[in-house]
């Protein structure tokens, strides 16, 4: 095989990484390179999206695979052993140089590195760790690093990864054990969960040690995340939400990413060929927000689903919940508890905070609320204000339900 140059490899190994949904570069510790050595910084809050692709997704990190060769044969994966894709493999040094030269030009926040499994799990993991080590130690790189760990790799290697990386992750792949068994015969839910538990313990231990000794080494300060493929097995939205809730609870995850299964070249016959259900993926993320920011219990989110356990595609889950539990509304903006204001469709956390602050001084009118929200029409039926009391929530009568989304406009017709 002819040698590929770095650019040709980049094309193959970025293409192979595009199915991974995680892109965040947020939530780590604050670092800078002001001391004059090295390069890079991270903010403790939001990461930065340096560009957006025409698929609407944020480009924040150089997201690539070390290699797309793999000894496994997972059906959903374009890199599986039996696939006919073109293979390539970066040297660790190539990845380091690419990361640095992109970073210096302000294209990226850092590196997201994953890999097909070559040789053995340990060998692959060693290579991944070596990239991170070299960036951190040889080049004093202070940008963001997210490493995907390999199932079955030695815990010591995972530990090394956590010392260099801001975030580490391992994918649970599918929401159901039966789906995983069918689509990823070489992987096992138990082994994946063991690895997650190990990382969770290490993160908690170091956070604890940090309290006692300032010099204690950091371990994945931005925590761990995971990804589930949606639409490749028979799991309902209700199944998926409760699985995610279980994962958040057991393994202290920062994020669960959902990746709508998308047709891949040379797909295995086990897979559906339809376009990925993007709206479904969006509704799952919204359900996730309900749990993470709006105080909904997993069971309550599941209640927003229809009788078959699927989220409605036409309205968001918060509105769906409110319509199902009309009795809980309207909420009085001047007296209602914060937790209930958070349940009002159309009121975000910021608007709720502002309402709570403003009502200390005076009674709020509907016009006041209008200045704090995007769509008064959406919240109005669910609120009482000093000059407003809605008629009873009749079936859709006073709700401005969104019209079915028009087909997406083409930019260059």
């Amino acid at each position: 095989m002819a040698q590929l140059d770095t650019r040709a490899k980049l094309e193959i190994l970025a293409d192979a990484a595009k199915y991974d949904a995680s892109c965040a570069s947020s939530g780590s510790v604050k670092r800078t390179s002001r001391d004059g050595k090295g390069i890079g910084s991270t903010d403790s809050g939001m990461g930065i999206c340096h560009a957006y692709a025409p698929d609407g997704r944020c480009i924040s990190l150089l997201k690539i695979l070390l290699t797309n060769s793999c000894i496994f044969d997972c059906h959903y994966c374009i890199n599986r052993k039996s696939s006919n894709v073109r293979r390539a493999r970066f040297t660790t040094d190539e990845v380091v140089r690419l990361t640095l030269s992109f970073y210096r030009r302000n294209y990226i926040e850092g590196l997201f590195l994953s890999s097909g499994i070559i040789g053995s799990s340990n060998y692959t993991m060693e290579q991944i760790v070596e990239v991170a080590r070299s960036l951190r130690e040889d080049h004093e790189f202070r940008g963001y690093i997210h490493l995907k760990t390999i199932p079955d790799a030695d815990p010591e290697l995972i530990h090394q990864a956590g010392l260099h990386a801001d975030r580490i992750s391992i994918n649970v792949e599918l929401p159901t054990a039966s789906g995983l068994k069918r689509l990823a015969p070489e992987k096992s839910q138990d082994r994946i969960e063991d690895a997650m538990a190990g990382m969770s313990d290490a993160i908690l231990d170091t956070a604890d040690a940090k309290k006692h000794y300032r010099s204690a080494p950091r371990f994945a300060p931005a925590g761990q995340s995971t990804q589930m493929i949606v639409g490749a097995d028979a799991a309902t939205d209700r199944d998926i939400v409760s699985r995610a809730a279980g994962l958040y609870g057991s393994f202290n995850l920062k994020r669960v990413y959902y990746s709508a299964f998308s047709p891949i070249p040379d797909a295995s016959a086990v897979l559906p060929l339809q376009r990925p259900p993007l709206m479904r993926e969006h509704r799952l993320y919204q359900s996730d927000w309900l749990m993470r920011f709006y105080g909904f219990k997993p069971g309550e989110v599941a209640d927003a689903a229809d009788d078959n356990g699927m989220m409605r595609l036409d309205i968001d889950p918060k509105l769906a919940w409110a319509l199902k539990f009309r009795g809980a509304f309207p909420v009085d903006v001047n007296t209602g508890p914060r937790e209930m204001l958070l349940r009002v469709p159309g009121l975000g956390t910021r608007a709720v905070d502002k309402i709570v602050a403003a009502r200390r001084g005076r009674r709020l009118t509907l016009a006041d609320i209008g200045r704090l929200t995007v769509s008064l029409a959406k919240v109005r039926p669910f609120l009482i204000a000093s000059d407003w009391r809605p008629v009873a929530l009749a079936d859709k009568a006073d709700l401005q339900l969104p019209k079915p989304a028009a087909k997406q406009m083409e930019l260059f017709g």
């Binding site: 390179s33 390069i39 957006y52 698929d55 302000n106 294209y107 078959n308 709020l364 260059f412």
Partner: protein, 453 residues
């Protein structure tokens, strides 16, 4: 009128000094003219020196943060607005107040501009006699450049860099920050070999099966595009997306791979634990489809009946026997076809000891469609025959009138052709023997045309 001179559009300290003096001298906001840099002096108004008073008054931290941002806006009223807000009782408590909203609106726009500058500045490497320098050209909307310098110093401390903008340029030499006059795009370097790499990355990381142009435009408006190397590719990426997606699906179709048998077996096994709808609770087992996976014809019934539920196989009860006989008369070998049901669990009402078949509802049909779609994706039958309204609804995803559509080939959304006829159990239920004979003959005729066209 009091005239207060500020050094620059973003001179927060000057504004603070001026406001402090005005408050102490009880000069109302509308009695002040703010002058920036060397704009010509106002006609009315004496440039009264501000009272140099050391007396302090304190303002909440939140206000200072807000003012520091809002002052970077280009709105000419911002100095006065902030002053008005500052002397108002209650200050910031009332987020719904129009003035607070307006000032917060200014700050929000500024914050966005700051964020976009951090995101969309693109450095190009220039080799100078004393080493490399990274130079960027950027056009901010507001007066944010000085306020944003710290971010780039934190990040690129060991690099030498310059950011050129129309209003001001900033230069970092590795130790100190210097300011220079505004620049033009022509003064910035116009290329960097690494850009070709970056473009390759941008094109490869994009998934053509997920085109969402509106979303991209919302976060990366067109006005930024002209200074970003990767955005030049957008039109061709969008134009090529449909072809690439079609190509992806097409390759998938032509190269089914040799694992259909295994895939089907795994799918069947997975279906055994399906809980997508409540029907699994009372039924004995999932009744999955059966037949050769390379069958050219697929038959879709409604749902398993009492006997199918017990046997775990489709079409073995009374309706199945009618179906078998009709198949033989139509010259179709049951061994060569694939038979399945739209709904894979038995739905019934218990009447004494008997379990009476009940019709699946639209929700159950929709829930169970997942399975039949997988079966169809695997087998890709040339012809699919829907037996009855439930089957037709499942295949087309909407209600279909059998009498109107029967007897001719219809195109299926996912490819292949569909034929619609009655369900064999309908024949069993006809009370009039003459009608039954006629309908049976029509059924056989339908099967024949489906098989031989």
């Amino acid at each position: 009128m009091r005239v207060i001179a500020l050094d620059a559009e973003d001179d927060f300290d000057g504004w603070r000094e001026g406001v402090r003096a005005a408050v102490q001298d009880h000069v109302a906001p509308e009695r002040i003219v703010w002058r920036v840099g060397d704009q010509p002096g106002e006609l009315f108004g004496s440039e009264a020196p501000a009272t140099a008073s050391a007396a302090n008054f304190t303002v909440p931290r939140a206000f200072v943060d807000l003012a520091r941002k809002a002052i970077l806006h280009t709105d000419r009223e911002r100095f006065a607005l902030l002053h008005t807000l500052l002397v108002r009782p209650g200050l910031l408590d009332d987020a719904a107040d129009p003035l607070v909203r307006r000032v917060e609106g200014l700050a929000r726009e500024v914050r966005r501009d700051i964020h976009k500058m951090r995101a969309f500045v693109r450095f190009r490497e220039v080799v100078e006699p004393d080493g490399a320098r990274f130079v960027a050209w950027f056009e901010p909307d507001f007066h944010i450049v000085r306020a944003n310098a710290g971010f780039f110093m934190d990040r690129f401390a060991a690099m030498r860099w310059s950011i050129l903008t129309p209003e001001v340029s900033i230069h970092w030499d590795g130790a100190t920050l210097a300011e220079g006059p505004g620049a033009t795009k022509a003064e910035a370097p116009d290329g960097d070999p690494v850009e070709a790499m970056w473009q390759s990355y941008y094109a490869a990381i994009f998934n053509p099966a997920r085109l969402k142009v509106g979303m991209m435009l919302k976060e990366m408006p067109r006005k930024y595009w002209k200074n970003m190397p990767e955005t030049a590719l957008v039109p061709q990426l969008i134009a090529g997306a449909q072809a690439r997606e079609a190509g992806m699906v097409e390759t998938a179709r032509t190269k089914a791979g040799g694992n259909i048998e295994a895939a089907w077996a795994a799918l069947r096994e997975e279906s055994m634990s399906c809980t997508r709808c409540p029907l699994h609770e009372h039924a004995t087992q999932t009744v999955f489809g059966e037949g050769p996976v390379d069958a050219a014809m697929m038959f879709v019934g409604e749902q398993p009946g009492d006997q199918e539920d017990l046997a775990g196989r489709p079409f073995v009860g009374p309706a199945g026997q009618v179906f078998d006989r009709a198949l033989t008369e139509a010259g179709i070998d049951r061994g060569t076809i694939y038979v399945t049901n739209a709904v894979k669990h038995f739905k019934f009402e218990q009447r004494g000891k008997r379990r009476i078949h009940a019709k699946p509802d639209a929700g159950e049909i929709t829930a169970c469609r997942w399975w039949i779609e997988q079966e169809r994706a695997l087998l890709r039958p040339k012809r699919t025959v829907a037996l009855g309204a439930t089957a037709a609804r499942s295949l087309f995803g909407k209600a279909v009138t059998i009498s109107r559509e029967r007897g001719r080939a219809l195109e299926l959304p996912g490819g292949g052709e569909a034929w619609i006829t009655v369900h064999p159990s309908y024949l069993l239920r006809l009370p009039d023997p003459v009608a039954r004979t006629e309908e049976y003959a029509r059924f056989v005729a339908d099967l024949k045309s489906a098989a031989h066209t």
